[in-house]
């Protein structure tokens, strides 16, 4: 068999392309209920019953082939470059009209198309009955009803797509209004013999030129002679004079006319239906008076839940690791190997694994917000505030995802179409306290603050991150990125009941990633830290402790003066530096440092890290808080810095981010510590 068939999934945002893709490939790409979850092309494969291999491309959603934002551009490029031999146009059955609008453009690409009429179950629940056969006739391409999240209809869908691909069945473009068609007829001959233009793309290019599509006009795809561009301008001007409207708007009007006509023709309304409970819930969640308090309440509930429910669970894990360490200490002979295993591996990795419950709960909360459709509502509710700080309501989505992990959050900024908005958001997302910082807070709050205050202290840190991010955004917008903000035009997805399976799978995957990180980065860093804090050994009879004599100890002493204004002693200073690799490493390093430093005589009844910290005279709640502020703000981990460099398009921005965050972290931690000392006395 020749090259495998490549089939692309295209469609409006939030129409369920990724659900179908997952059902066919067995992949577990992230699916949620807001527009713009998928921001890059995902690849997968599916094997047909006859053994043929098909490669599948899951494209980011797009409303139109005139790309507007970064992720839409990704989808458009993939389609224009003919990466696929067939397109599955995924259409949300409950939102036929707007979804058909994209179809009217996809059929002009000269690539075979099949329609997946997705979420037909939801449409039925809303009382919509769609005549599939009739739709097929009107749009001229095969239509397959599907339910992505249950996997209904996917086999039929892929078979239909393979069939049209093999037959090479090009869809017939829709006829637009006579004025537009006349203009297209004038332009088509001009572009007919351009280099590298396939004959089938003539109409597409002519229409795009008529619409004055910036990228095609600027010659990004085809080098266009000046006389062609001049003639196109003339045709545009004539059309505009005649009808008093920009040609691109006329074309859009025509397409919507067709979409609306088709929709009217095929959609029947059964009498009952409409999601009433959802509307009632919505009237509270986005209420003019209650909207913001409800949002704050939900966030507070999330952090309170993480702390109250996660705390006891993580203590259970802590006991298990304590027992493991003690057992191993007893059964192994004293020496470097025992120290390596007990102080290096078990304290280091165990110290981090202890916080799995909190991390899972946090992701549970985020997944619920993503899947119900609340996330987009939250963006709606806070847009005015974000706007005041020079951000965008849509910036809220990456920012909230940043509570999970900065890396996908920075990727999610692709939904912002204005480069200034996007860069600003990228630069402030790292201050959304990610889940890797949670173990640091959980450890220190657990050690130095009473349990009933824990949730509030935790919330105060998250809130500080958000507040500083907003202030920083304002600052960037009025210095580095001056200019008006892009318009806020965002679809609000319908409310959906998240499936327990999807939420659990998501939570489980995040937990598994966390464990993997503990087994790789954190394990490696723990071993390094163990070696650095164990060697060289001081000469016999020396007054200095092992730890202070070691490389880590000496290095810490060197940095200590720099960090002293923030109240950090040399142990905290060392831990902070190791956190560059990943923020959880701060915890594992503290574990190792305190583990190595523990008095050998006490072995057998190893104190937990929490107890060791409490016993350290250099530590108190104020130092702990200043330390948490520092950890919140300083350099994001190395993977996040790399993603910033990639998404911002330059290492300069990544470098700027590192200096800016670390500088701010030091200044604020110092401020907290010094002011705190004055207040406490």
């Amino acid at each position: 068999m020749a090259d495998p068939l490549v089939i692309a999934f295209a469609g409006n945002p939030n129409s369920g392309k990724t659900s179908l893709f997952n059902a066919l490939t067995g992949a577990r790409q992230h699916v949620a209920n807001y527009p713009g979850v998928t921001v890059e092309v995902k690849h997968g494969r599916h094997v047909l019953t006859d053994g043929t291999e098909v490669r599948l491309l899951d494209l980011p959603g797009t409303y139109s082939l005139t790309a507007y934002s970064a992720e839409e551009r990704v989808a458009r490029e993939a389609l224009l470059e003919r990466q696929a031999v067939a397109i599955v146009c995924v259409i949300d059955a409950s939102n036929l009209e707007r979804n058909l609008y994209l179809l009217t453009q996809l059929v002009e690409l000269d690539i075979p198309v099949v329609v997946a009429l997705n979420m037909v179950d939801e449409a039925e629940r809303l009382g919509l009955v769609i005549d599939t056969r009739r739709l097929e006739k009107l749009v001229g391409v095969p239509v397959v009803p599907t339910v992505g999240r249950r996997g209904d209809g996917v086999t039929e869908l892929i078979e239909a797509a393979v069939k049209v691909a093999r037959e090479g069945r090009r869809p017939k473009p829709f006829t637009l209004s006579s004025h537009v068609e006349e203009a297209v007829a004038e332009i088509s001959p001009l572009v007919a013999d351009l280099d590298g233009l396939e004959p089938g793309r003539k109409r597409f290019l002519a229409l795009k030129l008529l619409e004055h599509d910036p990228e095609l006009v600027s010659g990004a795809h085809h080098r266009l002679p000046q006389e062609v561009l001049d003639r196109v301008e003339e045709v545009r001007a004539e059309l505009e004079e005649h009808l008093g409207e920009d040609p691109e708007i006329l074309v859009a009007d025509d397409r919507y006319g067709i979409a609306a006509g088709v929709a009217r023709e095929v959609v029947g309304r059964s009498t009952q239906g409409r999601a009433r409970t959802a509307e009632r819930v919505d009237s509270i969640l986005t209420n003019r008076v209650l909207g913001l308090p409800v949002l704050v309440l939900i966030m507070w509930g999330l952090f309170e839940g993480v702390f109250r429910i996660g705390g006891p669970l993580s203590e259970g894990i802590e006991v298990a690791f304590g027992w493991l360490g003690a057992t191993l200490s007893e059964s192994m002979a004293d020496g470097p190997l025992r120290s390596l295993v007990v102080d290096g591996v078990i304290s280091g990795v165990g110290g981090v694994l202890v916080f799995i419950p909190q991390v899972m709960l946090l992701f549970l909360g985020i997944a619920l917000m993503e899947d119900t459709g609340y996330l987009a509502r939250a963006a709606f509710v806070v847009d005015r505030i974000m706007h005041a700080f020079g951000l965008h309501g849509k910036s809220f989505i990456p920012m909230l995802l940043g509570f999970g992990c900065s890396v996908p959050a920075i990727m999610a900024t692709r939904v912002l179409s204005d480069p200034k908005d996007r860069l600003t958001t990228i630069l402030v997302v790292p201050w959304m306290s990610c889940s890797a910082r949670l173990p640091v807070y959980a450890l220190l709050i657990g050690a130095f603050f009473p349990a009933e205050r824990g949730g509030v202290v935790l919330l105060s840190l998250y809130f500080m991150g958000v507040a500083l991010a907003l202030v920083a955004a304002r600052l960037f917008r009025s210095t580095l990125f001056k200019g008006p903000s892009e318009p806020f035009v965002m679809e609000l997805p319908p409310y959906r009941m998240p499936t327990a399976r999807a939420v659990v799978v998501h939570m489980w995957e995040r937990a598994w990633l966390y464990v993997q990180k503990a087994g790789t980065t954190i394990l490696a860093m723990s071993l390094v830290m163990w070696a650095l804090s164990s060697y060289p050994k001081p000469p016999a009879g020396s007054e200095i402790s092992d730890l202070e004599y070691s490389i880590a100890g000496r290095a810490g002493k060197v940095i200590e003066p720099v960090m002293a204004p923030a109240g950090f002693d040399w142990k905290l200073s060392v831990a902070v530096i190791t956190g560059f690799a990943a923020k959880e490493v701060v915890v594992s390093s503290l574990s190792t440092i305190y583990g190595v430093g523990a008095d050998a005589a006490e072995v057998g009844e190893l104190p937990s890290l929490r107890e060791s910290l409490q016993a350290d005279p250099a530590m108190n709640p104020l130092v702990a808080y200043a330390f948490m502020v520092f950890v919140l703000l300083y350099i994001p981990c190395i993977p996040a810095v790399a993603v910033v460099a990639r998404e911002a398009g330059s290492w300069k921005w990544a470098g700027f981010l590192v200096l800016w965050t670390t500088g701010s972290a030091w200044a604020l931690a110092t401020l907290v510590y010094q002011v705190g000392r004055l207040v406490v006395g």
Binding site: R98, G244, I249, A252, G261, M490
Partner: protein, 261 residues
């Protein structure tokens, strides 16, 4: 259909249907307010409708439509909408006039004529492959626009141009009459897009999202700090900032519709 209803009973049925749209039962007081009639007349009308098996109404309980009442009202509303569309889209009568006249026409014409009218409208407009050429020409003629190619004699015979025919920009004989920016329309109001100000990518984006001339909109709600707003268009929810909404000139529909007088 079952036994015919009087036109005022049809109005009652329509009003109940509209008021029941948000899912709650309808109160007698609401119906009276909407139709501008007294409570006792509503009660007596409800008794008639209830006898015909179209509504359920018990004392002190909200009025609800029975399945057959709902179907009946559905047909009535469709009939009304079809007439309004015929008047505004084919004859280019302005929306306000059309709404009022449709109200009177709907009770006057018989089911056969109405069905033919609907069929005609569909035949002209719903054909998904291409518009009706002659209709475009006719409309252009009425608006006083010149045809590039000489028109067929039969079109030239018509009195050109007609007065008060809205042009595609939404301006009728009196330019901008009754138009207001979407940003100054309150929640719960239905309106129709007549004209878009501004240019460039954001205008294009709005067109891609389905905001074109002639599309009906409804303002659903306003965010806590007064901005942005949530509108329902083409069956989905879209939010916009007031800045963008100010670019969209709309004509506010009479809502709720007035009954026959």
């Amino acid at each position: 259909m079952t036994e015919p209803l009087s036109s005022s009973m049809e109005d009652y049925l329509e009003v109940i249907y509209e008021l029941a749209g948000d899912g709650r039962g309808v109160r007698v007081k609401q119906i009276a307010d909407h139709l501008g009639v007294s409570l006792p007349s509503v009660t007596s009308a409800l008794r008639t409708l209830s006898d015909a098996g179209l509504v359920t109404h018990e004392r002190y309980r909200p009025v609800e439509l029975t399945p057959s009442g709902r179907a009946r009202a559905d047909a009535l509303v469709n009939r009304h909408d079809a007439l309004v569309r015929f008047l505004t889209e084919i004859l280019l009568v302005d929306l306000e006039t059309a709404e009022g006249e449709a109200c009177r026409m709907e009770h006057a014409i018989g089911p056969v004529t109405l069905q033919r009218l609907v069929n005609f409208l569909q035949a002209v407009q719903r054909c998904p492959r291409g518009n009706a050429e002659w209709l475009n020409r006719l409309h252009a003629r009425w608006r006083g626009q010149t045809c590039e190619e000489p028109c067929e004699p039969c079109v030239l015979v018509l009195e050109p141009p007609l007065e008060g025919v809205p042009t595609p920009n939404g301006h009728g004989a009196e330019p901008g009459r009754g138009l207001m920016p979407l940003s100054s329309v309150g929640p719960g109001v239905r309106c129709t897009v007549r004209h878009m100000r501004g240019r460039g990518p954001s205008r294009r984006r709005l067109a891609d999202m389905g905001i074109c001339r002639g599309v009906p909109l409804e303002i659903k709600k306003v965010a806590p700090l007064g901005d942005p707003i949530d509108i329902k268009v083409r069956g989905y929810h879209l939010c916009l900032r007031k800045d963008e909404a100010a670019q969209i000139m709309v004509e506010v529909a009479e809502s709720p519709r007035q009954p026959t007088h």
